[in-house]
């Protein structure tokens, strides 16, 4: 698997005010659980994305903490109220402290 971490999100481009919309996210990441062993029997150290947060015009609308039992290329779908036009920001935090971010805009009518 490529080591480059690539986030992908699916947000409706347009929604009615007050409508509940579904947001789907996916990020390419090995999610090394820390439970596996290499050929010599040494434990492969854990390296996962341990936190995910979504903000809507700066306000946190959904958060999730992940452990080693979350699958590789973690997928997370959740819902939110379409309140106003603006930007959604998605941030994933890696065990090594790296942050992966992507944004999506929405028009609320």
């Amino acid at each position: 698997m490529a080591d480059k971490v690539k986030p992908r999100v699916k947000v409706p481009k347009k929604a009615e005010k007050g409508e509940v919309i579904e947001i789907k996210t996916l990020i390419s990441h090995k999610m090394e659980s820390g439970q596996r062993k290499d050929k010599d029997g040494n434990t492969i150290p854990r390296k996962i994305i341990n936190h995910f947060v979504c903000t809507y015009n700066g306000e946190v609308i959904f958060e999730s903490d992940w452990h080693g039992a979350v699958s590789a290329n973690p997928y997370m779908a959740f819902r939110t109220l379409a309140t106003e036009s603006g930007e959604l920001t998605f941030t994933w935090t890696d065990d090594d402290g790296s942050e992966y971010t992507t944004t999506a805009s929405i028009e609320v009518v």
Partner: protein, 160 residues
Amino acid sequence: MADNIQKTALDRRGFVAAGAALITTPVLFGALFGKAARAGLPEVEAAMAEILGGKTAEEGRISLDLPEIAENGNTVPLSVEIDSPMTEDDYVKTVHIFADGNPLPNVARMTFTPRSGEAVASTRIRLAKTQKIHALAEMSDGSMFTVTREVKVTIGGCGG
């Protein structure tokens, strides 16, 4: 008063440390004997008891959607839905997911807000073997709801 608070905080820390030690010991044992350690129901119950803090979780309002049989334990789709109006006064704060047959009991925690609209979330998880998945929801009024679902796993999602 301040002393009391500090003492409670310390006691709690001590309790957590003791709990962590208890959980770590069988893991080390498992490693020594070259066998994968399993979290087991007691660890899941201990983790849930810490969140409950003496309260009792009721059944209902929360549903967990998982396949009855998972052919590949590496990626098992999981959906959780909680029946809640999701208003400022009455919403689901957090849902914790635990697995009692994995090396570690914790799977994920999802934090909702009144702006979630509906308390629904989906992800994909790893299951080492056939086991039960436990979900615990904390509501804004402090009440707790729980549900358990068994998943039969044909090929495990750990090690290898």
